[in-house]
């Protein structure tokens, strides 16, 4: 018998001790428990009696989570009150684009020109085109992939400039929510996001801030 087989209990302890849920999952679970505890309390139980059953760390976490949730709600209401619907959609679209830009997903359709992409990406309900500002040959197409923008099919086109800096251009038909979006500019998560209309398409360009 090998020595480690004689010590099965110890091996089992070691094995299970190495199994753990990710801290993010623990936090998410604690938030759910706090939310459920709050709901249970408001459903009719005595607040004091119910909270006293929870351990102090849970109680503190519940209080902070509630404060954070209320603060977030106040900020959201404030933001909604000071922004127009089209600005909100533009901002949400810009956030989506910033997130996708950071992912740097591989292109599905490598191409050297935008015309090659137009031929390859048959699922698009529009023909992708090179924006006027990039027709100076300073930018080179690397390729593209399908993506969605506010739930609408879009082309995510990767470009590189003469200095080798990469930017991502999104093109979509300005329909539904996007129909309201006009020109706008944002800086989100270190990304400069610019939205504009051109040739009947909505263009969204994502690149490094201060490019």
């Amino acid at each position: 018998m090998q020595p480690e087989l004689d010590n099965l209990d110890e091996r089992l302890r070691g094995f299970y001790q190495r199994q753990s849920i990710a801290p993010a999952t623990v936090d998410r679970l604690k938030r759910k428990l706090n939310a459920a505890a709050t709901t249970t309390v408001t459903a009719g139980e005595s607040v004091t009696a119910s909270l006293s059953r929870l351990r102090r760390p849970v109680l503190i976490a519940a209080v902070f989570s509630t404060i954070a949730a209320v603060a977030a709600l106040v900020l959201l209401v404030f933001w909604l009150s000071i922004t127009r619907p089209d600005e909100r959609v533009a901002h949400l679209a810009a956030q989506e684009v910033a997130l996708n830009h950071h992912k740097q997903l591989a292109v599905e359709y490598p191409a050297a020109t935008i015309d090659q992409l137009a031929g390859a990406m048959s699922k698009l309900d529009f023909t992708p085109l090179m924006p006027q500002r990039f027709r100076d040959n300073d930018h080179r197409v690397i390729g593209a992939r399908y993506c969605s923008l506010r739930g609408q099919i879009a082309a995510q086109i990767r470009l590189t400039d003469t200095s080798g800096r990469t930017c991502t251009l999104y093109e979509a038909r300005p329909m539904n929510e996007l129909a309201e979006v006009a020109a706008a500019e944002f800086e989100i998560d270190g990304c400069r996001i610019e939205l504009w209309r051109e040739a009947g398409l909505l263009m969204v360009l994502a690149g490094p801030a201060h490019q």
Binding site: L8, F15, I21, V58
Partner: protein, 158 residues
């Protein structure tokens, strides 16, 4: 059980490991833990290791019942659980060997090994928690350990 008032994170991690011993699948174990904790919150139950483990056990048995199984029809249950179990990130080849051996056990065998070896519960405590005679528990643990050893030896010679 020794520690009745661990902090919440530690309590959740212990609950997760116990759920893993029952379900033999990380995703299922997380779900079991979440369902059990939510049921504890909703019922206004007390938070300690015993109540969390018991809640997890009840949820696991509920799941088996929903599939028309019991803790006694465990060979089938083990098969079903293995069907949904995906490959896991393993810390070492030894852990991989042990995980495969544990995966070949029935859920009740894994549970008893876990409670005895990891939670270090006495046979009397396990008997109370699982509602089984002490003799049955001793025999199941003995059989489970023998099975794990045989599987580990077979893995070495494979």
């Amino acid at each position: 059980m020794a520690d009745m008032s661990p902090n919440m994170d530690e309590l959740l991690q212990r609950g997760y490991r116990y759920a893993l011993s029952l379900a033999d699948d990380r995703h299922d174990a997380e779900e079991l833990l979440q369902e059990a904790c939510l049921s504890l919150v909703r019922s206004g139950g007390r938070w300690h290791v015993g109540s969390v483990l018991t809640a997890i056990r009840h949820r696991f048995i509920d799941r088996l019942r929903r599939r028309g199984l019991t803790m006694q029809s465990l060979d089938v249950a083990a098969e079903m659980i293995r069907e949904v179990a995906g490959p896991a990130a393993l810390t070492s080849e030894l852990d991989a060997e042990l995980e495969r051996a544990l995966g070949a056990l029935r859920p009740e065998e894994r549970e008893l090994l876990y409670l005895a070896a990891v939670e270090e519960m006495t046979i009397a405590e396990i008997a109370k928690m699982t509602d089984r005679p002490r003799g049955t528990i001793l025999s199941l643990i003995h059989r489970a350990k023998r099975k794990v050893r045989e599987l580990l030896i077979a893995a070495r010679h494979a």
